[in-house]
């Protein structure tokens, strides 16, 4: 089975985010980008499928800072091919543009199964997976936490609210939006990644003419202005703990 995992970089939410001078986009000058955490789960799920039944796993990412490291990291986990899309800025591509670029590539390499992270926190025009499936004429199932290969199909465990799982049989080729792999993404030692980076090559592929039509056009971005922000309790841990106990008593829960 050929499995492809397209991944995306997103702003690290631990950092402070700012709006640029246009007022309609994030200021990217200081932005620290990290792998979308659901894409990390998609990689893990692909590797688990490979370990269980054999597969050839290809990871694809638009170029950018830190991308080589993430690709080598995936190779150290067991990915077979690494592809970098050149001439694109991951931070600037919306889901529609990304899905079109990926669809062109996948028409060539013809994977049986495409695993994408179910969403990224900065998607404003839906997630890549559902669009990609339509562009390729494949079925799509998202919110998946667990995949088992069968003959000519996969069984995807689709999550519903409250912990209910719907077992979906999906004919291949197909696209699945991964919410969580069956186990947390594994850790690989730096030495192993370093070793892999000397032997595995990253294939570079040029892309041009991004078509982002179909995406939302943002006129303004701003930080939320809540009607009421939390009252921040100042002081040492001891003082704050005292005040909190006071609050619990007032509310009658102690």
């Amino acid at each position: 089975m050929k499995i492809a995992v397209p991944i995306k970089f997103v702003p690290d939410l631990v950092e402070e985010l700012n709006i640029d001078s246009s007022g309609a986009a994030l200021d990217t000058s200081w932005l620290r980008l990290i792998i979308n955490e659901f894409d990390d789960h998609a990689i893990e799920q692909a590797i688990l499928l490979k370990e269980r039944g054999g597969a050839e796993v290809t990871i694809i990412c638009a170029e950018g800072d830190g991308v080589d490291d993430i690709l080598f990291n995936a190779a150290a986990k067991g990915a077979d091919q690494l592809v970098k899309l050149m001439g694109s800025d991951a931070a600037m591509m919306n889901s529609h543009a990304t899905a079109r670029v990926l669809a062109d590539f996948f028409k060539e390499i013809q994977p049986d199964l495409i695993l994408t992270g179910v969403q990224a926190h900065n998607d404003l025009d839906g997630s890549v997976g559902a669009l990609l499936a339509e562009y390729l004429g494949m079925p799509y199932v998202g919110y998946v936490a667990g995949v088992t290969a069968a003959s000519g199909s996969v069984i995807a465990r689709k999550e519903y609210p409250g912990g209910i799982i719907g077992e979906m049989e999906v004919k291949l080729p197909a696209v699945l939006g991964i919410q969580a792999a069956e186990q947390p993404p594994r850790y690989v030692a730096y030495s192993k990644i370093n070793q892999v980076s000397k032997t595995v090559k990253i294939e570079e592929r040029a892309i041009s003419d991004l078509d982002s039509s179909g995406g939302a056009t943002v006129g303004r971005m701003f930080k939320p202005e809540p009607a009421q922000r939390a009252e921040i309790i100042e002081g040492s841990p001891e003082e704050v703990a005292d005040r909190m106990v006071g609050i619990f008593k007032e509310l009658g829960v102690m």
Partner: protein
Amino acid sequence: MSQDIFVLIEHLRGQVADISYIMLAAARTLASSSGGQVAAVLLGKDAQKLAGNLAADKVLYADSPALTEFTSEAYQLTLAKLIEEQSPRAVLFGHTTIGADVAGWLSGKLSLPLVSSCVNFTSDGKFLSQTCGGKIMAEGDLPSPTILVTMIPGGYKSEQGQAAQASAIESFTPPALDNLRVALKKYIEPEAGDVDISKSPFLIAVGRGIQNKDNLDLPNELAAAINGTVCASRPVVDQGWLPTSRLVGKSGKRVKPKIYLALGISGAPEHVEGINESDVIVAVNTDANAPIFNVAKYGTTLDLLDLVPQLTEKVKQAKGG
């Protein structure tokens, strides 16, 4: 072409999901600026009874054995036909396991623009979406003639989308739904036996800020002292540190305790939708910009590892003395 606002009614095993009512309320705002009607779109098998309390001007209903329970492909094909024939002004979907499976596909299929994670529509007909885990809001126009939107809760009350009387049902014929490539095999129930977190008046919720499994001793000790229940955000459950039964949020439980003490939780929209009906939220987070402080009544930016042992101590003292 019409100015109508369509809402995809989500239901699972005979229960209409709350997001459906929330979207009907949102659709009413949009319809009053577009001048059209609100149409609830219901797909199912003998599911007319689910339309009983939908606050819509009409219900568009398709009946087929292939629509008995949700599967992405049957919904995609049925909705593509309906939207193509009727060209409404907007179609609202939940940003959920149901809506997100179909909205993106339809955007590709029908070449219609898509806006996701919308919480509110402004009175002048713009979308307001949450992005970057709730740290940023994005606003923009809704392009004509037809826009697809996925919605998250928070902007409208579900009661506003409920009506005392049923509205008229207009049936429409789904396309041929055979040779489908996606089939529901069965539902698997969540594991039973653990405590029901939605019943506890005092929830102590731990997020990724707890850092490792060993640190769970801290909230566990606090819970024992104050007679509370420990629950968690998704990363903690995905790590296997706590069972799924303790998960709060979009894919877990919705809770309404008297106190929700959030320890090291950022307040991502998927988490917040499970807690925004709590009486009082108290947040402990070292990032003063964390979105959790937008929904909390009280907060502190202290390190939870420093605060929680003190808090447990103080609770024990208060109870003992």
